[in-house]
Amino acid sequence: MSWRWLMIVAALVGLASPAVAEPVTVGVYAPTVPFEGTAARLAFATTLARHLAGPDAVGRVYGRASDFSAALVGGDIQLAVVDVAFLATTKIPHTTLAVAVRAGATAAPWQLVVRAPAPPLATLRGKTVVAPITDGQHRAFVDHALFGGELAPDFWHVEASPDTLSAVAAVVLGKADAAVVPVGLALPGDLAAVTDLPSVSWPILIAARSAPAEVVTQARAQAPRFAGAAAITGFRPADAEVEQALARRLRRPLRLPPLVVPALRITVGELLVGRRFDIARPAVTSYLPAP
């Protein structure tokens, strides 16, 4: 064996040696998802991380938008499950991989809940309503995305709640007059829904722009096969349109009627005036049998 062969073999051995890689971290920032508590949230994060990136992967949960943003931008996390409202209002670069599934659907209508009995919506003027939106866009989320801009800007006071269960608890405890939460949540018996509201997507699985390509590829492939607990049971492929649609709804709507264009066929029809069609039929005497 020549010295050249020895060098090639050594190089190949070196390539095949175990690398000392950082474990993949999966962050979870999803205040709207009704996890039963922080432990459940963390368990979900860990289970999902291992499913997406292997046994060494780590799951972390975030309660504040700023912490999550910092971790994502700083490269502390490579994958994340994020509320769609956060993605719709921030410019953080990311790659959309999938959308979460809960109760068999990728989105759920929301509802406005109050202490029973439910009063007319108009009676809530001047009251406090809480929303599990912690990125600072809670007012736009409630007034525009959920109520379509129908309410006057000063109709009520909208405040952020750490998460969905906290929002419900705030109403139960009298700290808030109402809350907006996804439909399907098990409400305490003394709460009632005032009205149903438009659907909002469940959280999005994203990859940080800094995430290694193989991590992104593996996560995209693994996500649909995830089978989780009750809060989030799975994922389906998605693209950025989900976030963009909500982003449009977050803006105060400007309602304008459409312009219309007449159909030209009316005039085209004038070119056909006077057309006559006739199918030549045999002379009646031709039906006489041949002699």
Binding site: L121, A122, F147, G148, G149, E150, L151, A193, T195, D196, L197, P198, R255, L256, P257, P258, L259, V260, V261, P262, A263, L264, R265, I266, T267, V268, G269, E270, L271, L272, V273, G274, R275, F277, D278, I279, A280, R281, P282, A283, V284, T285, Y287, L288, P291
Partner: protein, 800 residues
């Protein structure tokens, strides 16, 4: 009876005939006195004294002709006609041109049994002197003896007309033969009346009573059977009467009774050929054809010369479906016209050959038979059939109409059917020759006689050709609920002609399921549907044909091109441009000539209407050098206008297209100008809509101004609405509201605009109401449901 009638007649006739007449020159000698003496003695029945006087007269003057005549009469009265013949031959030699002599000689010859010489002599006499009643009488009876019944009728009727009144007392004896002659020549009703009169006058004349029964049997067996029952009690006539009664039973459909009567005869006379013949006919009637044939063959064996049995056997064979065997049997017989079976022989021959289709070969003998037995419906029917099969339907019609006229009562079914066939055979060539009036007359007559599917079809056809659909409907309706394809098809045409479209459609449906003529049926149906403004149904009718029926050059293929073309234009008028394109593309595959150009031009129009810009441009380019069948000058100007229009639907090309259309609109005239201005308006409004959606309200307004300036009459309401929308965008809420209210009935989107205006003014409830109205009116806006849902959360009416 007949013999005594002849003998007594001869005596009386001769006495009368030999009476002094101006034609007889007389010598002035003693012989005249002797002749007078002889005549008186003859008249008194003193034959010896008459013979003596007359012999003396002849001795004195052997040239006295009347003496010969009277002396011969004495010989006749004495039963010595041979001597009378000898004497009259001498007289004939003396006076060969003397009618009295010829008559007397002829009479003596007849009495002497030398009828072959006597009858021609008497026939010469009556030919020269039709008033020679005595000759008529002798000939009449002679003919009756020889069963020359037509001749007997002529002779005996001549006698009745010419005989002297003094002989009226003997009329009934002559009438007996005359009645039989009538009966034998098919004039049974006349015979029956004569027999009835004879029976009333002579109750003891058995021949008259038999004749009455026979004639009644020939007229109506229901009349005959009571008469026959009375006659059956007379032993002398028992067998004959039973046989006729059996025939009547057979005629009345009681074959068992006929058989019973025949067997009663056979019990007494086991070898009775007539009874066996009756057995044969009865068995045939009962369907026992083998037994029938056997019995008739026995009868024929017993009386081989009796052609009547052969004829009956032939009839049985024919009815058994063996007309060839019947013809074979009949072919071996040669009958003279004087045979009593002559008539029935030719009837049976004609009928058997009719069924074989070879009756055309016996036209001549049948014609002769009808001359000998005139006005015989059965014989005329046979002749008519023969003429028909000989290819002379016109002659057949004439003959069969005679047959119809010969029967005062109901028309026999074979006669009616044959005449109907002949009338059709006359009518169809007339139709082909364009002589529709003749054809209609013939077919109308055929319909009256025995209408059948062919008659109804042809009559309907002729009436349609005569532009008489109501008459055609009446004729074709006779064909019932399940006519053949052609009849159903003609019925469809006729019903369409009288405006019964549902009926016509049902008739065409029937034609389609009747089988056969599938292409004609489909083309007729398609033509009908097209005429009634249902081009899609026309297409469906043709497409339902198997592809092989729609091959190149077929009528169905050409019709399908037309139907698809028409259906496409209808679809285009209804706003179904995509469907129109599809139909025109299918039509284009088989269209040729000018139609192909028209289809391509219209397909380009339809493509424009689809809004598929790329497809429209491609199609417009393909017809750019063609002259389309649009109203001039659009035939040359429409394509450039439409091309610019479609081009202008692209946002980047809108400005260029607008300029191009503005230029085209200036030079365009008529429909082209309308098209150009409309295209300009649509292009400008389309570009405005695109600018508006991009938030470029000012640019949109400028484009709408161009649209307004185009001068088009198209889309004024839409344009006013669009300008109001821009006003609303510019905050001119009040102005916009006015326009929205004005055009809302025609532009439902104006209700959306009015709702937005209300919302701007803080009236959310009104906005909700207007948007709901807009939705109901069909206004198109993707987010309208969201707007309504949002309002309903506040104002109710929503999900909760």
């Amino acid at each position: 009876m007949r013999g005594s009638a002849i003998a007594s007649s001869v005596l009386a006739l001769v006495v009368w005939a030999a009476a002094p007449a101006a034609a007889q020159p007389r010598a002035e000698d003693d012989s005249a006195a002797l002749v007078d003496s002889g005549r008186r003695a003859l008249t008194a029945g003193d034959l010896p004294r008459a013979a003596k006087a007359l012999d003396a007269a002849l001795a004195l003057n052997p040239r006295r002709v009347e003496a010969y005549v009277l002396r011969a009469a004495v010989h006749a009265a004495q039963g010595q006609p041979e001597r009378g013949v000898t004497l009259m031959r001498r007289a004939r030699a003396l006076a060969p041109d003397n009618a009295d002599v010829a008559t007397a000689l002829g009479s003596q010859l007849m009495l002497a049994g030398q009828a072959d010489e006597g009858a021609p002599l008497l026939e010469e006499v009556v030919a020269r002197a039709p008033a020679r009643y005595e000759a008529h009488a002798l000939l009449g009876h002679y003919y009756a003896t020889r069963e020359r019944w037509p001749d007997a009728v002529v002779a005996l009727e001549a006698y009745q007309r010419t005989r002297p009144a003094a002989l009226a007392g003997d009329d009934d004896r002559h009438r007996l033969d005359l009645a039989e002659a009538y009966l034998r020549t098919g004039r049974a009703a006349v015979a029956l009346e004569l027999y009835r009169a004879l029976v009333r006058a002579h109750r003891d004349w058995r021949g008259a009573r038999l004749g009455e029964a026979w004639a009644a049997a020939a007229v109506d067996c229901r009349l005959a059977r009571p008469l026959l029952a009375r006659l059956a009690d007379e032993p002398a006539a028992r067998a004959e009467v039973l046989l006729v009664d059996g025939q009547c039973a057979l005629a009345l459909g009681d074959a068992r009774d006929a058989l019973r009567q025949a067997r009663r005869v056979l019990e007494a006379a086991p070898t009775s050929a007539p009874a066996l013949a009756l057995v044969g006919e009865a068995e045939a009637a009962r369907g026992n054809l083998a037994a029938a044939r056997s019995a008739l063959e026995q009868a024929r064996a017993l009386e081989p010369n009796r052609t009547r049995y052969l004829i009956r056997l032939a009839r049985v064979l024919r009815l058994a479906g063996q007309p060839a065997a019947a013809t074979t049997e009949l072919a071996g017989v040669a009958l003279s016209p004087s045979s009593p079976d002559y008539r029935s022989y030719w009837i049976e021959t004609g009928e058997a050959r009719w069924e074989l289709g070879t009756a055309g070969g016996v036209v001549a003998p049948l014609t002769q038979a009808t001359q000998l037995v005139p006005d015989d419906a059965e014989l005329l029917t046979a002749l008519g059939g023969a003429q028909l099969q000989a290819g002379d339907p016109a002659a057949a019609v004439a003959t069969l109409e005679r047959a119809v006229a010969a029967r005062a009562d109901a028309i026999a079914r074979p006669t009616a059917e044959r005449l109907t066939t002949a009338l059709v055979a006359v009518a169809e060539p007339a139709i082909r020759a364009g002589d529709l009036a003749t054809a209609e007359r013939a077919l109308t007559r055929a319909d009256q006689l025995a209408g059948n599917p062919t008659v109804w079809r042809d009559l309907g056809l002729v009436r349609l050709a005569l532009d008489n659909p109501a008459g055609a409907v009446a004729a074709l309706a006779s064909a019932g609920a399940t006519p053949d394809a052609v009849t159903a098809l003609l019925r469809g045409r006729a019903l369409a002609g009288v405006g019964d479209l549902a009926g016509a459609r049902a008739a065409f449906d029937r034609a389609a399921v009747a089988g056969g003529r599938a292409v004609e049926v489909a083309v007729e149906r398609a033509g009908f549907e097209l005429d009634t403004g249902e081009p899609d149904a026309a297409v469906a009718a043709l497409v339902a044909l198997p592809p092989r029926e729609r091959g190149p050059g077929s009528a169905a293929r050409a019709a399908l091109v037309t139907a698809r073309h028409a259906a496409a234009l209808a679809a285009l008028h209804q706003g179904q441009a995509t469907r129109a394109v599809a139909l025109l593309d299918e039509a284009a595959r088989d269209a040729t000539g000018d139609q192909a150009i028209a289809v391509r031009c219209d397909a380009a129009l339809a493509a424009v209407a689809t809004g598929d810009r790329a497809r429209a441009l491609a199609r417009l380019k393909s017809i750019a050098k063609l002259t389309c069948p649009f109203p001039s000058p659009a035939d040359t100007q429409a394509v450039p206008i439409l091309t610019a229009f479609v081009d202008g639907l692209s946002p980047r090309r809108a400005a260029t297209a607008t300029a191009r259309l503005t230029a085209l609109a200036r030079t365009a005239r008529g429909a082209s100008r309308a098209l150009a201005t409309a295209a300009l308006r649509v292009v400008a409004m389309t570009a405005a809509e695109q600018a508006y959606r991009a938030g470029k309200v000012a640019a949109a307004r400028q484009l709408l101004t161009t649209a307004r300036a185009s001068g088009a009459s198209l889309g004024d309401d839409e344009l006013a609405y669009d300008l109001a929308v821009l006003d609303l965008a510019d905050g001119k809420v009040a102005a916009a509201k006015v326009v929205f209210a004005k055009v809302a009935a025609k532009v439902p989107e104006a209700l959306i605009g009015a709702g937005v205006a209300a919302d701007r003014e803080g009236d959310g409830a009104r906005a909700l109401e207007l948007w709901r109205q807009a939705k109901r009116a069909g206004a198109r806006l993707g987010v309208l449901d969201d707007w309504i849902a949002a309002k309903e959360r506040l104002y109710g009416g929503g999900p909760r």
